[in-house]
């Protein structure tokens, strides 16, 4: 096998080694547990960044709805793995299903009228409005009482329908599929829009998704959270009572509790890493295929590409769906890692714009860049707290100990991480807009 190491791949390897060294530094000087916790989230961030890079780096689509797709993946993890609650299903399962069927039929009717009656002009709009409102009111006739009954069923412990009771690993695929199918509909209606309208529309839609998860208690328990999502890896407490594990730790001479927690985290790392590598392999294949070249051609010159007979709209839809599916997978993984689904954690700064910073800092259009960006930005997102605290400590040195202003700034110091992220993004956009590992252009 011939290995040709070019300058740019040398740089890539060097940057990844630096990242590894930074993680090892945390491991040696802070703690291995913390290091693995950061690493696991770095891996998930890298997968999300890979999805965004697909959309932005390959196709130039500004999707500001990352948060919504991550939440869809998360909800899939919850719905797949939790066991169904028979009582709640009995109380209102039928009503909810009927209501949803009515809604779906209404949607299909609206779509059919909208596409078939284009020649009717303004009348079409009012037909659609009347049918949509009527269908909605009719579905509420089934939904309302059913939802009330479901939410009244043991509200302190359940109050929702529960899930399917399948293994949680299965949900990563389901999360991807769910995000992809929602992305298909969103893409269908928004991809015709101009770039900045697309951003605003997707941002709005992702907020709606979160609103639904927060308020439809029968489905997600709303802000009451679903905890105790089953794990794909062993529990620390079980490990500690397992004989072989006790023996091994004793043999090496490690602390049992510490080691069990590190072992669990390492299991997650293995799972996440294999997903990342598989997706990276697929993305690289896609990037270097004719399909990938077509995407970049469309990105660079839409008019020319469509003059060459490439279907711009359908290509955009494809990549929008695929990228969103990857984000959905990452969202499901995140909820699996956390072991709980809480719709109020989804916040656009953390789940949409931070991922964007990752892609731009890493290098849009380059998968390795996106992954590196995911690692670096997440690492600094966590460590910025330490940096912020230090900065505040130095800045407030001249102030008297215990003064109100000093205490105030010590309390608000964690917010500096937002400021630092903004500064990093602005500096990169200005001085290195192609990112740390720039896109490789075939013609030099």
């Amino acid at each position: 096998m011939k290995l040709s190491i070019t300058n740019s791949s040398k740089q890539t390897i060097f940057l990844f080694l630096c990242m590894g060294a930074a993680l090892l530094f945390v491991g040696f000087f802070q703690s291995w547990n913390l290091m693995l916790a950061i690493l696991n989230l770095c891996l998930i961030s890298a997968i999300m960044a890979l999805g965004v890079n697909l959309q932005w780096g390959y196709a130039g689509l500004f999707n500001a709805g990352i948060m919504g797709f991550a939440a869809l993946g998360g909800v899939a993890a919850m719905l797949v793995s939790k066991s169904p609650i028979a009582g709640a299903w009995q109380a209102g399962g039928m009503g909810v299903l009927l209501g949803l069927v009515v809604l779906i039929i209404t949607g299909i009717l609206v779509y059919l009228i909208w596409t078939r009656y284009a020649h009717k002009g303004r009348v079409r709009f009012w037909y659609v409005v009347i049918i949509a409102v009527a269908g909605y009111v009719f579905s509420r006739y089934f939904l309302d009482p059913a939802i009330l009954r479901i939410e009244a069923f043991e509200p302190s412990s359940s109050g929702y329908l529960g899930g399917a009771g399948l293994p949680v690993l299965f949900s990563w695929i389901i999360g991807g599929i769910l995000a992809a199918s929602v992305a298909f509909f969103i893409g269908k209606i928004t991809l015709g829009l101009r770039s900045d309208y697309l951003a605003i529309a997707t941002l709005g839609i992702s907020e709606i998704v979160i609103f639904i998860f927060k308020n439809e208690d029968w489905l997600t328990r709303g802000v009451k959270n679903v905890t105790g999502i089953p794990r794909p890896v062993p529990y620390e407490i079980d490990l500690q009572s397992t004989l072989w594990f006790q023996d091994t730790t004793q043999l090496i001479g490690l602390d049992l509790i510490q080691t069990s927690s590190i072992f669990v985290k390492l299991c997650y790392t293995g799972l996440f890493l294999s997903v990342l590598l598989a997706l990276l392999w697929l993305c690289q294949r896609a990037l270097n295929s004719p399909w990938g070249r077509m995407m970049r051609a469309i990105r660079d010159n839409e008019t020319a590409a469509s003059a060459m007979g490439k279907n711009v709209t359908s290509s955009h839809l494809q990549i929008f769906v695929i990228g969103s599916a990857i984000v959905g997978i990452a969202g499901a993984m995140l909820v699996t890692l956390d072991g709980q689904f809480n719709p109020s954690v989804y916040h656009p700064l953390r789940f949409t714009f931070l991922i964007w910073v990752m892609v731009i800092v890493g290098g849009s259009g380059n998968n390795f860049g996106a992954i590196l960006g995911g690692f670096i930005v997440w690492f600094f997102w966590i460590e910025a707290e330490t940096i912020g605290n230090m900065l505040v400590y130095i800045l407030t040195l001249p102030l008297a100990e215990g003064s109100a202003i000093k205490n105030h700034f010590i309390n608000t110091a964690p917010q500096l991480r937002l400021l630092i992220m903004g500064l990093v993004l602005l500096l990169f956009l200005r001085f290195s807009p192609r990112g740390l590992i720039p896109e490789r252009t075939p013609h030099k």
Binding site: F62, I200, G204, L349, G422, L426, L429
Partner: protein
């Protein structure tokens, strides 16, 4: 209940019921929506000006509003500590000029060190938008670092112009109508500011050059309009609008830095529904968004009970969407308008 033998359309219509129903609507929909709509209108006007002259969607506008509000709050605290007040009116009104000046100053600094470079490079709008995301992050961090994340109420002075109980006594109706001082101030300030902006855009030389620049940049340059001056004046107008809109919103609903990030979406919705780049559209769009949020999430049970004959009185709340979805209404409206009529109600694009 005794069944009347009249037909339902022959029910004698009591005027008092109609008056009650109208008061109910005024209290829960018209007054709050007028105030909220004014705040949205001012915000949307700022976004639309940036879009028309600088040609990008400014995601940082919410944080710019938040910055203005923060300055106003700090000034209010300062005035309160040295005992300056304008008794029945909130102190924030005399803090407002300081907030406007500081916000304008901030935007000019941002223009000089951040936006100007991309202007000269003539980058694509989407790059500009990402730059504004960077500014949003930066400002969000800065504001939260300075003032913290907790909720702050800085409205002082007289709370109400009309209290619900006073109104009931005055008119003898069963429904009360209350108007808060902050709501009245919001509407009046919006009226003044919007009139001033329109006068500026239509009557002054600078306003006319702004419109020309927005309509056709190259042609404007050819006819001797200096782009730097147009851009600086635009940022000054945007700064003033953002500071006033933010302060009025904070005064009315309490200041919470987190909310201003969420507020960007209804504001964008207002600007786009009205037709982005069109100032009249932005103002109307603000009210359209505010009123539709209120009308769609209002529970009509009591309203209908007044108007309909007794035996028709509804059992449920008669509510299209529950109140939690208030914010979502504006997003849905936004998406619908983008799909059905992307240019907005008032054909947008240029000033």
């Amino acid at each position: 209940m005794q069944k009347s033998d009249k037909h339902f359309w022959e029910v004698d219509f009591a005027m008092i019921d109609v008056a009650n129903a109208i008061t109910l609507l005024a209290n829960y929909i018209i007054v709050p929506s007028l105030a909220y709509g004014s705040q949205l209108a001012l915000g949307a006007l700022g976004i639309t000006l940036v879009y028309a002259v600088l040609r990008f969607s400014n995601f940082a506008h919410g944080e710019m509003m938040s910055f203005g509000t923060m300055i106003a709050i700090l000034m209010v605290w300062l005035f309160q500590s040295i005992g300056i007040s304008i008794a029945p009116l909130p102190t924030a009104l005399i803090a407002l000029p300081f907030s406007i000046i500081t916000t304008i100053f901030l935007l000019l600094i941002l223009d000089k060190f951040v936006f100007r470079y991309y202007q000269s490079q003539r980058v694509q709008p989407v790059t500009f938008m990402i730059v504004s995301v960077g500014v949003m992050f930066f400002l969000a961090g800065f504001i939260r670092f300075i003032i913290g994340t907790s909720k702050k109420n800085f409205a002082d002075g007289e709370r109400f112009i009309i209290k619900a109980s006073e109104f009931k006594q005055m008119t003898g109706l069963a429904e009360g109508l209350s108007i808060r001082t902050t709501q009245a101030i919001t509407v009046i300030a919006t009226l003044i500011l919007v009139t001033a902006i329109f006068w500026f855009l239509n009557k002054t030389r600078m306003g006319k050059s702004m419109r020309a620049f927005s309509d056709n940049e190259d042609l404007a340059l050819l006819s001797g309009i200096k782009p730097e001056r147009v851009i600086i004046v635009t940022w000054m107008l945007v700064g003033a609008l953002a500071a006033v809109a933010g302060t009025l919103y904070g005064l009315d609903k309490g200041y919470k830095p987190f909310v201003y990030l969420q507020l960007v979406l209804p504001i964008f919705a207002a600007a786009i529904v009205g037709g982005v780049g069109n100032p009249i559209g932005a103002v109307i769009g603000g009210y359209v968004i505010a009123f539709s949020e209120a009308f769609i999430t209002f529970a009509y049970k009591r309203f209908l009970t007044y108007l309909l004959p007794d035996e028709w009185a509804p059992d449920g709340l008669v509510q299209l969407l529950s109140t939690e979805y208030k914010f979502a209404v504006s997003f849905v409206l936004l998406v619908i308008v983008l799909l059905v009529r992307p240019t907005g109600l008032f054909r947008g694009k240029t000033l």
